[in-house]
């Protein structure tokens, strides 16, 4: 369903153009219907991997496929829903207009779209605010609108970058339930987080990335089977010791 093979990505930084390796030989395979939790500390390469999957940036080498199609093909994104980290949307559009755009641009029939928008806004708790401009929304409301936008075209693959970011406990519960619903519907979910509890609750498989390298992948049950908590595994994998300080 999602196949990432030997991805390398580097960026130039600063006046001298110092090369920073964001990803080094990252390979991941995610099967249909799987919820894959992508875990790593800040700046580990989670968002870079996701942006390559969305073709927002291009890898230096390696390839990424979704539904057996190269991610460079825009048509792949008809079947992909994406929630960016800290999403920003157009200030003067309403949530309803935002979802209209998402649905129509993805080729959803306008008659189906109308009921889908209403259903999704109700699901994310924005029905009462559907006509308000997005600039008047709180951070949590923007995140909810972003989730609805990611799902408006009923995608087969859902990619969520830090979906719980900025949400209150109610919002976190709603997102968690949504991920479980998607899983029940047989959707493939790829979500990144640095919150261990979220990964542990929703993932079938996990990947731990650190300093641009994929350090560990495996079934969650197998990874934490030896009496260790996910936190222990994570700390050991990224080489952090007592107090979360790297060795």
């Amino acid at each position: 369903m999602i196949s990432i093979e030997g991805l390398y990505k580097s960026f130039r930084e600063g006046l001298l153009g110092r090369k920073v390796h964001a990803l080094q030989d990252v390979s991941i395979d995610i099967s249909p219907g799987e919820v894959f939790g992508f875990l790593g500390p800040n700046g580990a390469g989670k968002s870079t991997t996701i942006k390559i999957l969305l073709n927002l940036i291009r890898p230096d080498s390696g390839r990424a496929l979704i539904l057996d199609h190269a991610v460079q093909d825009p048509m792949v994104r008809k079947k992909v829903g994406y929630l960016p980290e800290n999403p920003y949307f157009y200030d003067y559009l309403s949530a309803k207009e935002l979802l209209w755009f998402g649905g129509r641009a993805s080729g959803v029939d306008s008659r189906i779209l109308k009921s889908r928008i209403s259903e999704l806004l109700d699901r994310v708790g924005l029905q009462a605010a559907e006509k308000r401009h997005l600039r008047t929304y709180s951070k949590g409301m923007v995140q909810r609108a972003g989730l609805a936008l990611a799902l408006v075209h009923d995608p087969a693959v859902v990619i969520l970058d830090e979906p719980m970011s900025g949400l209150d406990p109610l919002g976190r519960k709603m997102v968690g339930d949504l991920i479980l619903e998607l899983k029940a519907q047989g959707k493939t979910v790829f979500f990144s987080s640095h919150i261990l509890n979220d990964i542990e609750r929703f993932s079938d498989r996990i990947g731990i990335i650190d300093e641009g390298r994929l350090r560990l992948t495996g079934n969650l049950a197998e990874v934490v089977s030896r009496g260790e908590s996910l936190e222990d595994v994570f700390m050991r994998t990224i080489g952090a010791g007592e107090g979360g300080v790297r060795q």
Partner: protein, 270 residues
Amino acid sequence: MRALWPLAVITYKEGIRNRAMYGIFLLALLLFAANFLICGMIMQEVGKVAVDVALSAVSFSGLLLVLFVGINLLAKDLDRRTIYMVLARPISRGQYIWGKFFGMAMLIISAVGCLGGCALLSIASVRWAFPGYFPRFALGPVVLALLLIALMLILLSAVSFLFASFTTSSFVTLILTIISYFIGHGVAAIKALVEAPETVGIEVSTATVRLVKGAYYMFPNFSLFDIKIQAAHNLPVSGTYVAGTLAYGLIYSALVVTLAGLIFSRREFP
């Protein structure tokens, strides 16, 4: 086109609801009101002045629209990463540029339509107050002048999209667009001057002639779209000139936006 239309629609809505639009329209209304006062003060060639001032107000307000609303519509997408929500759809980078451009063109046409209506009201109010000064007034040339103003603004917007496709700062795009606007307005007259300097008794070096010719071919000729004088004096404008100018504006805009799309296709959005 299926992917372009929704993007054009949200670009248009985002632009038309922008608060900067209120400022631009308020300024335009003040200029139209000033038209009445100016004509009342000068009491000479009132009909021509009324048309010239009204059309200049539309042109100036449209310029502000392109510079401060149009450029921001694209720049904000890049600065605030709202472009992610667009490119996460089955929309290529080239289609993104075209969709934004169509939205901006719709915004310009609506704004010029609205401002043009106000300009006609302003001219009508002056005509009502000073009916003796409008012996040669005709509506057709004024409407034609408004049409060409809209096309000039669409072309300027296309040029701003080209600059935005390779710069990383909206300020640089703004400066380059303003420079293009001024060069595009004056370069045809300067070219005519440097090619026949003896007519005004000056000497021009070969390098200067080459430089001016280079600028003439590099920048769009915005002066072609300016028929305010003809409209004010009700002078004839040939159908060939209008058709040629329309074709020039549309083809030039299409080429510039296509080039912008090609350059933009190479960009990454980390």
